[in-house]
């Protein structure tokens, strides 16, 4: 297996012919993954602490950037503060599969069309115009996404998820105290499953959505702007359910103490998507 390895201890730029899969693991600093038609490249502009390790699997075209001990699997196990800091900008083809893991570093991913996987301890993650399956996991980091087109899976302790615009084939969000906020459209038979302990859930769907809806909070308020949904009398919980449109999709929100609000985006009110 042909493997190239670079130990980077100073700002540096590396260019590659082809990358089909990218893994980035950083502690502190920033990481940006940008889709580009240009040749793949890694630009490291700031570096402190241990040197970064860049490896390239020439056969599988897998590019890996990180520290020797900091891998995807063990990322969340490294809780102690680390001195390593780096600013890394990676340009890859849009079709490259990308995984980014950070401790406290902030990450930006734009224009990827093969989805993305992101993990974070406390770092904030920004996704812009990512198409495909997005898998996001964080302890306390915030995840902000604009115009995602695909399936989103989100899991967090206290970190929140915000989806500004986008067409979702599915959203599965599970958080303890993170807020889940979304202004999205549902694809055909799209499904939204959000469950939180105390996190507030606010979703806005187009007025013309098609979904079977079930919103439930044990002690929080449940509200909706969709007239076709009805409050259900149930013991020890606030529940709103019913169908919106033909009810082909599915929207289910369950929280313990969080408030649930399902808003309705008027057909002409698309201004919120673009800004």
């Amino acid at each position: 297996m042909a493997m190239s390895r670079w130990i980077v201890d100073a700002p540096q730029r590396l260019d590659f012919d082809r990358v089909t899969e990218l893994h980035v693991h950083l502690a502190a600093g920033t990481v940006a993954v940008l889709a580009s038609d240009d040749a793949p490249s890694v630009v490291i502009t700031e570096l402190a602490g241990r040197p970064l390790q860049v490896t390239m699997d020439m056969q599988e075209h897998v590019l890996t950037i990180g520290y020797e001990s900091l891998t995807w699997g063990g990322l969340l196990g490294l809780v102690r503060p680390r001195r390593e800091q780096a600013a890394v900008t990676v340009t890859v083809p849009a079709e490259c599969r990308s995984q980014v893991g950070v401790l406290s570093a902030s990450a930006v991913l734009t224009g990827l069309r093969a989805g993305a996987g992101v993990r974070s301890m406390s770092g904030d993650i920004t996704l812009d115009g990512v198409t495909g399956d997005v898998d996001a996991e964080t302890l306390s980091g915030e995840i902000a996404a604009r115009d995602i087109d695909g399936a989103v899976r989100f899991k967090s302790m206290s970190g929140g998820l915000t989806l500004a615009g986008g067409l979702l084939s599915s959203l599965a969000a599970n958080t303890m105290s993170g807020q889940v906020t979304g202004d999205v459209a549902l694809g055909d038979s799209g499904s939204v499953h959000v469950s939180t302990m105390s996190g507030e859930v606010t979703l806005r769907l187009p007025a013309a959505s098609d979904a079977r809806v079930h919103l439930q909070s044990t002690s929080g308020a449940v509200r909706t702007e969709f007239d076709s949904l009805r409050a259900v009398k149930a013991p020890a919980s606030h529940t709103v359910s019913g169908n919106v449109g033909a009810g082909t999709g599915h929207v289910s929100v369950t929280t313990m103490s969080g408030a649930v609000t399902l808003l309705r985006r008027a057909p002409v009110g698309m201004e919120s998507k673009t800004r």
């Binding site: 502009t45 202004d183 808003l263 800004r275």
Partner: protein, 369 residues
């Protein structure tokens, strides 16, 4: 877009691109765009004049390939690049920084979008809550008004019930007074009649056969008290008394149901008061007073006799079921004691003019008894 290239830097960068290999003008533009993630896309109107000027300065030259110009760097151009090597490194750094700027811009832009979305949705949710609160308040207001109206109605109903009850009590009192006076009169008449009868009897048993018709009572007329006389007479009296009590209950019930409207508010307490009064009166005036009253002492039959007179008053008090009690009361005891009963019955009528029928019905007992 802030200018990516400071003065003279774009010229230097063009030389650098052509130093790598000869390129079409279009290719140069594409490379520049890619270098900036598509954010900076210089127009042909910017690039071609620059290339033309570089050519004028002798730093680049061009060949025609398939009708398109292919630019290549000249030795003078390479010399220029070499002489400005430091500047070129700086430019590379700046361009990287530009990419960082782009990344930063993307991040800021998305965060702004997200922030404004959150604010917007929060506002929308709050407005919805506000509307709900408003609706809730309106609902509550309506409910409160309804409740107040209901309370007002209830109060009015209570007042009218009180008024009715008061009126009923007054009527009852009036009736009672009337009955009392009648009873007194009856008693007096009865006494008078008894005296007359005694006189008659003493005179030669005049009407005695009439008396005997009511039973053995006449035979024992001289005997004191009825304790020792569990005879037919007492049984009849007991039966009549039972019927009286039963009829009273029945009539009371029917009157209450017929008047139905105020049933349930003040009726029961009022009735209880009236009945308590009545019971007290019955006890004191019917069953106990006979020993005290002079009339009672005159004969053994008196014990029953006085009641006959007294009972009518007792019955009338309950204003609701006036007829039944009055009539019955008058009827029963009367016959048992004396012949007069019929008379007492009449006095009862005036008390409850409303129900003469019942009175008549109750009369038969007398003869029967």
């Amino acid at each position: 877009m802030t200018p990516v290239f400071r003065h003279g830097r774009l010229r230097l960068y063009l030389l650098r691109l052509l130093d790598e290999e000869p390129r079409h003008g279009y290719e140069v533009i594409r490379l520049l765009r890619d270098r900036f993630m598509g954010v900076y896309a210089p127009s042909p109107g910017t690039i071609y004049p620059r290339l033309a000027r570089l050519e004028e300065e002798g730093l680049v030259t061009h060949d025609e390939e398939n009708g398109r110009k292919v630019y290549r760097i000249t030795e003078a151009g390479r010399e220029e690049l070499r002489s400005r090597g430091a500047e070129l490194d700086e430019l590379e750094a700046e361009l990287s920084a530009s990419v960082s700027d782009i990344v930063r811009e993307v991040r800021e832009d998305v965060r702004d979008t997200v922030r404004s979305l959150r604010e917007e949705l929060t506002r929308a949710a709050r407005e919805m809550r506000g509307n709900e609160r408003e609706q809730g308040r309106q609902t509550r207001d309506t409910a409160r008004e309804a409740a107040e109206a209901a309370r007002e109605q209830a109060r009015q109903a209570k007042e009218s019930a009180w008024a009715q009850a008061r009126q009923a009590r007054e009527q009852a009192k009036q009736a009672r007074d009337e009955a009392l006076s009648r009873a007194r009169r009856i008693r007096e008449e009865a006494t008078q009649m008894r005296d007359e009868a005694r006189d008659h009897a003493a005179a030669g048993w005049g009407n005695w056969s009439d008396w005997s018709r009511w039973g053995e009572w006449s035979g024992h007329s001289g005997r004191p008290g009825r304790n020792g006389w569990p005879g037919e007479h007492d049984v009849a009296a007991l039966r009549d008394f039972e019927r009286l009590a039963r009829d009273f209950v029945t009539d009371l019930r029917s009157v209450a149901w017929d008047s139905g409207s105020i049933f349930g508010t003040e009726v029961v307490p009022t009735l209880r008061d009236i009945l308590a009064d009545t019971m007290e009166r019955i006890r004191t005036e019917v069953f106990e007073p006979r020993r005290d009253e002079p009339a009672a002492g005159s004969r053994p039959g008196d014990p029953a006799g006085p009641p006959a007179g007294a009972e009518p008053p007792a019955a009338p008090p309950p204003p609701a079921p006036p007829a039944a009690p009055g009539t019955a009361a008058v009827a029963e005891p009367g016959p048992a004691d004396t012949v007069e009963p019929q008379e007492p019955a009449e006095p009862a009528e005036p008390q409850e003019p409303a129900e003469p029928q019942e009175h008549q019905e109750s009369e038969p007992p007398h003869p029967a008894g």
